[in-house]
């Protein structure tokens, strides 16, 4: 068995503009450790490499290849692809794992074409058996589990953010620098970056264990405070339906569903959400679903473990007080 799990698995880690590893790093390294030896690639701006490499070690990278280039701030994806190709040639891995973030998908698509490898996307897990690497997917809103494999070559796999529970043991990594010159392929230019206003202390939606989400029934951006209040009592992340997002109650990144984030928390509370099939596609794999909706016919009740037919503006405040009371 052990000889199956010693192959290097190349893992591309996303780094933020302030130099921190993305939260997907722990998941990618965890997935890699399950099928081999995690070898991380970090391509970041000058001065950020060493700290990011150490952080990757804490999350399980046995070896880290680091490249620093100012181009990551001015050229879209090109230098990251070039660096990853070089790392791939150096390491000769048995799989390449990349985050299914927007940035990760760009890199994965180009990398797979350039190295002529097959691509498996939006994976929620990886395993290996004596025939090679098996990639697990959850499709059509969690209605089906699908396994895929590649016929030969090195699978390039994008991993759903918040989709993998495996974590690797901390390692003391060998850190190498990856010197390279970009291949200068045509690429888009990054003109500017506007950081978003300071993040709240709430857990992020992806990978959250509890989620409280609001829909059109919440009615306004001001009243969304009620959703947030319940979330804070529960230590939950805040989500929303597409209508709530389109109506400007909350930012786009809160959207749960088919074309938003897919979540699988222990607890999902839907407030003023009808339960349209596209919304359900992003949350129906939650362990326990609670819904509050004044329409007894709302579709959300078909999948709710505990449904309340009622007005969220009376039920939620009472729930919040009751929860605070139990805490004392």
């Amino acid at each position: 068995m052990t000889e199956l799990t010693i192959d290097p698995i190349l893992v591309l880690l996303d780094v933020s503009s302030t130099g921190e590893l993305a939260t997907s790093a722990a998941e990618l390294l965890g997935a890699a450790a399950r099928i081999g030896t995690p070898v991380a690639v970090i391509i970041t701006r000058p001065g950020h490499g060493q700290d990011a490499a150490m952080a990757a070690g804490v999350q399980g990278a046995q070896r880290v290849l680091v490249a620093e280039t100012p181009e990551v701030d001015s050229v879209l994806a090109a230098h990251i692809v070039d660096g990853l190709v070089l790392a791939y040639e150096r390491v000769n891995p048995s799989a390449v794992l990349i985050s299914n973030s927007i940035e990760g998908r760009d890199v994965a698509g180009r990398f797979a074409v350039r190295t002529q490898n097959a691509l498996a996307v939006d994976a929620v897990g990886v395993d290996c058996d004596d025939e090679g690497i098996i990639v697990h997917h959850s499709v059509y809103g969690g209605a089906y589990d699908v396994d895929s494999a590649v016929t030969f070559g090195t699978p390039v796999v994008t991993i759903r953010e918040g989709g993998v529970e495996d974590r690797a043991a901390a390692a003391n990594p060998i850190i190498e620098s990856l010197e390279y010159v970009g291949t200068g392929r045509r690429a888009a230019t990054i003109v500017s970056f506007a950081p978003e206003p300071a993040k709240s202390s709430r857990p992020s939606l992806r990978g959250a264990t509890r989620v409280v989400a609001g829909g059109r029934g919440v009615g306004s951006a001001e009243d969304f405070a009620l959703v947030e209040q319940l979330a804070d009592v529960l230590g939950a992340a805040v989500g929303a339906s597409r209508v709530a997002v389109d109506s400007g109650y909350v930012p786009h990144s809160y959207q749960v569903g088919q074309t938003g984030v897919s979540v699988s928390p222990q607890l999902y509370i839907a407030l003023g959400i009808s339960g349209a099939i596209q919304h359900r596609a992003g949350m129906q794999t939650a362990k326990t679903i609670v819904a509050i909706n004044k329409d007894p016919e709302a579709l959300i009740f078909e999948i709710a473990d505990f449904g309340v037919v009622g007005d969220l503006f009376t039920v939620v405040p009472q729930l919040v007080s009751a929860l605070i009371a139990t805490k004392d």
């Binding site: 097959a118 609670v290 139990t326």
Partner: protein, 257 residues
């Protein structure tokens, strides 16, 4: 300006979608097939540019089964100039590599200054086709744009990234993909529908594009499929003044707080 818009026919998301448990392919009988909503938005972006720039040609390009021309007609009725359909049995269940190869060769055949795609398809959930095409075609990509400006020589737009928003530009030729923050597609009016009947849809197969689907390249294949048991409804109460209290008790009892 020549714009190619990539549209995909998908199972309608308003009904339960099914996979064939033997083949792992979408069960074509289970749902109506429709133009993916994001592709309709991409057509909208192209035709509204064409409206204010009359020498623009918009070709909608798709890979899909025989039924596809019906949904291509909708894009033509919205105002696209013509359609291009890659139809070949070997494309049933094609993996991303083969899909990207066929789309890239078709786009080259059509000729373009700009390609507009959706960011992610609702059935594939991949979000990689635009970048794969960019690599094959040797052009820049600017994906997942929440806004897009097109000029004769460049495109520009904004995309969300972790921790903020970035503004991008790229010189043409380029490929962009747009998010659902772009406006809904227009309803094709009667005039559009009538006009679409005279527009042409070119159909080609893989041989026409010099593609060998049996080429010795790594492919991604489905090896197992299983259906999860459907969820069922649990307890449902009607609020009679103490539902908040009851719900709190339920959460506490089930150790959910």
């Amino acid at each position: 300006m020549k714009i190619v818009v990539l549209v995909k026919e998908v199972p309608d998301t308003y009904a339960e979608r099914r996979l064939n448990l033997e083949t792992g392919l979408a069960d074509r009988e289970a749902n109506d097939r429709v133009l993916d909503e994001i592709g309709e938005r991409a057509v909208e972006v192209a035709v509204s540019y064409a409206e204010s720039h009359p020498d623009t040609e918009v070709t909608v390009l798709t890979i899909g089964p025989q039924a596809v021309p019906t949904s291509l007609r909708k894009a033509l009725a919205m105002g696209a100039t013509s359609g291009f359909h890659v139809l070949d049995d070997a494309l049933r269940g094609a993996d991303l590599t083969l899909t990207a190869e066929a789309l890239a060769k078709a786009a080259e055949r059509i000729g373009f200054d700009l390609i507009i795609a959706g960011d992610v398809s609702t059935d594939g959930n991949a979000g990689v086709i635009p970048a794969m095409l960019a690599e094959r075609l040797g052009i820049a990509h600017a994906t997942a744009l929440n806004s897009l400006e097109i000029s004769e020589t460049d495109i520009g737009g904004e995309r969300e990234t972790s921790g903020g928003t970035i503004t991008l530009t790229a010189s043409l030729p380029a490929i962009v993909s747009i998010t659902e923050r772009h406006p809904d597609a227009r309803f094709p009016g009667f005039k559009g529908i009538m006009a679409s009947k005279k527009k042409s849809i070119v159909t080609v197969d893989l041989a026409d594009l010099n593609i060998d689907s049996d080429a010795d390249l790594p492919r991604s294949i489905v090896v197992a499929v299983s259906a999860r048991p459907a969820r069922s409804a649990g307890l449902k109460i009607v609020d009679e003044g103490n539902a908040g209290q009851q719900l709190a008790e339920y959460l506490v009892q089930n150790r959910l707080v």
